[in-house]
Every structure is written in C-alpha cells, then in structure tokens.
Symmetry: C2
Subunit: 141 residues, 2 copies
Amino acid sequence: MNGNLDSEELILLLKEHGLRITPHRIQILEMIIAEGHPTVEEIAKRVPNMSLTTIYNNVKQFVSMNIVKELPFENGMSRYELAKTNNYHVICQSCGLIVDFTFPNLIEVEDLASRLTKYKVHRHIMGIYGICTDCQHTAAR
Amino acid sequence: MNGNLDSEELILLLKEHGLRITPHRIQILEMIIAEGHPTVEEIAKRVPNMSLTTIYNNVKQFVSMNIVKELPFENGMSRYELAKTNNYHVICQSCGLIVDFTFPNLIEVEDLASRLTKYKVHRHIMGIYGICTDCQHTAAR
DNA sequence: TTTAATGCAAAGAATTTGCAAGCAA
DNA sequence: TTGCTTGCAAATTCTTTGCATTAAA
C-alpha cells in the first residue's frame, strides 16, 4: 500500500539525477520515507552524527531536482516527502499529526485554474486543517 | 466583485472579536485588503511609522482569531489575506505574482478527507503553482 | 586524480520576547 | 484610571554561506 523504496531503489533514484551515492543521502531519503513528513530538525534527531548543513544542503538539492516535495507550514517550517507520492494531507491543528489520503482527481482544479488565469500550471499543494481523532477524544473528556 | 470592507466595517470586525480599535489595526487590515496578499514586510513598506513588532503582533492575533488567513510559502515567509475571502491562489514560480480565482466546490474534498481520516475538518488551503502570462511571454522571447 | 560532498563556524533573515511608555475604553 | 497596545532592543529560531577537509567516481 505504501510507496516505500528499498535502498537499491534509492541508489537508482540518485543516479538518475546524476547525484553521487553517499551514505548520508541514502539515510536522509530513508528518513523522509520512514518518518512521514519530517522537518529538517526531525531528520537530524533520527540520524545523529550528521551536520544540519548537510541535511539542509541535500534536502534543498532534492527539492530543486524534484526528488522531494516541500510542504510549507504556517509556523514557517517546512516538511518533506518523496515527490512520487500523490496524496493530500490532513493536519491536526492541536497536535500536528499529519494523515495522508489519496484523492487523484484534482487535476480538474489545475485545468480550471489554468483556463481562468491563463497560467501554465505545473502542480498544486493542498493542506486540510482539522482535529485528529485522538485530540477530539481528549477534548471531549 | 471584490469583498472589500470600508473602515466602518473593519471597526465592527474588530469589535466583534473584542479587540480595541486602533489606527494601526485599521491600517494593517486596510493594507491586507488593498495589497492582495502582502507579507509583513510589504505591509511595513506601505505603512511607514509602524513598528514591525506591531505588525507581527497584530497579524498573529488576527490569525489566531481567524480574522485573517495565513498562506505559508516555500521560502518560509507567509502572506496574509482576510479570512472571509473564499478563493484559491495561483502562484507564478518565476515572478511570484499571485492571481486569485473562485472555485466554491471543494467542500467535497473536506468532506471526503473527514470521512477517510476521521478528522474533524475546519478548513483547507490550496496553492497552485505555474507560470503567469507575462513570464510565459518573456521566456518565449 | 578530479570533482563533489561534508561540516564547522559565522553570517543572515524572519520572528518573538521583555519591558517601558502611550493610548483606548 | 486600567489594562491593552505599541515599539525599541535584544534574544531566538531557522536557514544559508565561506572555506577547509574528506570521500565518491
């Protein structure tokens, strides 16, 4: 059900983009897959002995090459996920938990946007905000 | 066609939320309406003699009270618009121009998200990225 | 060997905080 | 008058940059 890649596939992914294969790059990508939608800080916590600079450098490069997608959040921090995932995010306003769901049809909205505004549209992001089940129960007590 | 408010309506809006009426608050809200989707910096440029702190404080308060919506951008800066506007944004990846368009039907997506994830959904934001007409022409030359 | 990747330290940019002075109610 | 609002200065936080060291190809 999930689109996880093993490390051989990650190596291929890097090679396709002309990037050198380093343990750090593999680890960063593995963390992005394993963690859901980590921030740079969260990646750093799970992968000790790696400089923040390296994480920033690589994540930035991955984003510019469209290997990784950047999800800007309202507190100014960004979260990251693999670019090949094709889903939307529901974010808990109370605890921050992010749950994914798939909804493939919004190309219609891109088309409409393109027609109405004459932009040449490439992509879109959507964040849906609410309260997760746990926080609903906590609040009910 | 636009949902502009005159300053009497802005005063009412502040009173409804129990906020004191100050010239600065009126000016900040007027700028948010007039500018489209300003950053804090852009508000400061148009309203000299107001401290950045005041703009940050008020905008933050407006957001927490849902008077103003925050649109997080990938460079880490946020842009702001009145919360009552009900539209989506197409953002030019080349020059940053934002064009609004109305598309009222996405409550369906909120409903679906709610059903699939059991979140209690409150709102969503969507950003559509592409190239504006001007930049398309510039690139064609 | 050649060039890219790493990481420390320092710089930069956006935002927040502490606190004193000013103004709305 | 009372307490919210304002704003300066300083502190914080997140991110980027310069440059010397290390490692991939």
